[in-house]
Symmetry: C2
Subunit: 334 residues, 2 copies
């Protein structure tokens, strides 16, 4: 089997650069990374973590736990994780709990035998049984998107609060004063952070926020549909609605379509998480876009570094960006 | 641990009915199934396959191999598989090869140690190494959507050829005579079956099919975008285009939008596989809808029956249905 020195020689770089390149570190240029990866592939070089895992008879499987694989956000996280893991000769399996804490706990228990070399997890459980099961999985752990209460491990997330505050402030600048939010479960810290950014924008605008404009606890298309129908009943109706995730937005859009209201003339819509068809919806939907694929890569990277013996790794916070399309406009003056 | 007799007693049915209800057989009414499941849950009853698996120290994990988890078709198959498996106290892991045969082969190799109790697979590999690796996985095997050459196992699919032939015939009836198809890789039997249905509709209409109207080998948004741009260069342009899957359709729609053509005035569009946002696209996209969730349930069912000792199971062919929306119209007469 080829060693790191062979790869360094073939790529014309130092062994330290080989290590950094295969870890996808920002200090190495894309060109050097490509050269090193080509050399590693050509020589069939297995990087150290995987090599050590194999020589110890350890698994080369990384696990990704997600609450709902039909949510394209998680599918993209999965793809980033898989691609980064494959570079280090690790492979990934995905387990989806379908938002069912009991199923999630059973799944965690299935992996307490060392089948997985490491685990990246976005979880839904909150009780003690869950915390115990998550703590009992062997090997490195990385959290993605959300931190369950009491779990210490590096977290990959975006700055939910800041990006939401900025986006909602733009709606105030357009002239909206009655902006509603369809939020998620109160024990999801992502929902809390987005709601906190939403409240901060209200505060900065000096506008009072009536309780009726916040709808808690909604998930999936069905949740968005129900919450939007409730909001459309309000008098006066909100002039803009912020949906805390993508599938909630899909349900909300269907409710608006059924009510024969026009976006953005009758109501403006802002989604958290972009979708590949949002640019083609009538009208194209504005969204706060999280770099889901990059979040998956970062999670794999944190697992690989732990497998390489690194400890005390910090959280990774990636930027989310506002994509302005046609679903946002000043409120109609009628 | 509660036995089948306890469940039968609590539910007020025979033990044979308990077995059939927990297998989700059509001969049992929905009401009886609900009663039996409630009793099984209350008594914490583990059905026989799982019980035997556990008593033999066998895995309670089913695997699902898919080529691309970012394709919502596979995410829905996964959800159906998970839900059905959970009823029998099995859990599922998903592995996505990202259309990379080498990665798929490595993944298959990772599971030759008996980690999985059974495997449901939609695969991309075609070479001998792949066939060997697939054959070497232990335990029951079920194929989903496509059958790789030389692999004998029950297959869950829809009648691709028949539904496509019917849908394309409707386009001829609308007056189209120049209908193009963006097809997938030639070694995907789904692509072949859909293409075969497409050709049959041409034959039934007595219309010659020029080679330039068929674009082979396209996958994903990028593939659909490229193929549609090629089709838009043709003179005369096709008046309707059939896209062989959902992500190919997304790319094709983006190319049409960029070319500032109007659907369906300038060009009609038909997709294979529906998506949750197709009804909200401008205009709403007509699609042939496969029952992906039900396909996943059927695949789990075939695995569970094999785990229960059944042999010689046949293929399951589920109906796909045409959903007419506004992206199809008679060709413009200009």
């Amino acid at each position: 089997m080829a060693g790191i020195r062979d790869v360094a020689k073939l790529a014309g770089v130092s062994t330290a650069t080989v290590t950094r390149a295969l870890r996808d570190e920002a200090s190495v240029t894309a060109a050097t990374k490509a050269k090193v990866r080509a050399a590693a592939l050509r020589l069939d070089y297995v990087p150290s973590a995987a090599a050590r895992a194999l020589s110890r008879g350890r698994s080369n499987l990384l696990g990704l736990f997600v609450p709902d694989i039909t949510n394209p956000f998680y599918a993209q996280v999965a793809q980033g994780l898989e691609d980064r893991a494959a570079e280090a000769r690790y492979h990934c399996v995905i387990a989806s709990s379908h938002l069912n804490p009991e199923r999630e706990r059973h799944l965690l228990t299935s992996f307490q035998d060392g089948t997985l070399a490491g685990l990246a997890a976005t979880t839904v459980g909150t009780d003690e049984g869950f915390t115990t099961a998550l703590g009992a999985t062997r090997g490195p752990l990385v959290l993605v998107d959300r931190r369950p209460r009491g779990i210490k491990a590096p977290l990959v997330r975006t700055d939910n609060r800041k990006v939401t505050r900025g986006a909602i402030s733009q709606l105030f600048e357009m002239g909206h004063t009655r902006i509603a939010m369809i939020s998620g479960p109160r024990d999801f810290d992502t929902a809390c952070q987005r709601l906190s950014g939403f409240r901060l924008a209200y505060k900065a605008a000096g506008t009072a926020l009536p309780d009726e404009l916040i709808r808690h606890g909604h998930l999936g298309e069905a949740g968005g549909y129900k919450a939007m129908n409730e909001l459309l009943e309000l008098d006066p109706r909100p002039t803009a609605v912020f949906c805390f995730n993508n599938l909630v937005t899909v349900g909300a859009l269907k409710a608006i379509r059924e009510a024969r209201l026009r976006i953005p003339v009758d109501i403006s819509i802002l989604a958290f998480d972009d979708m590949n068809l949002f640019p083609l919806v009538e009208p194209p939907i504005s969204a706060i876009d999280q770099p889901a694929y990059e979040m998956g890569r970062a999670a794999a990277d944190l697992l690989l570094r732990q497998l390489d013996g690194e400890r005390g790794l910090g959280d990774v916070v990636l930027p989310a960006t506002m994509i302005m399309r046609e679903s946002l406009a000043p409120p109609s003056t009628r």
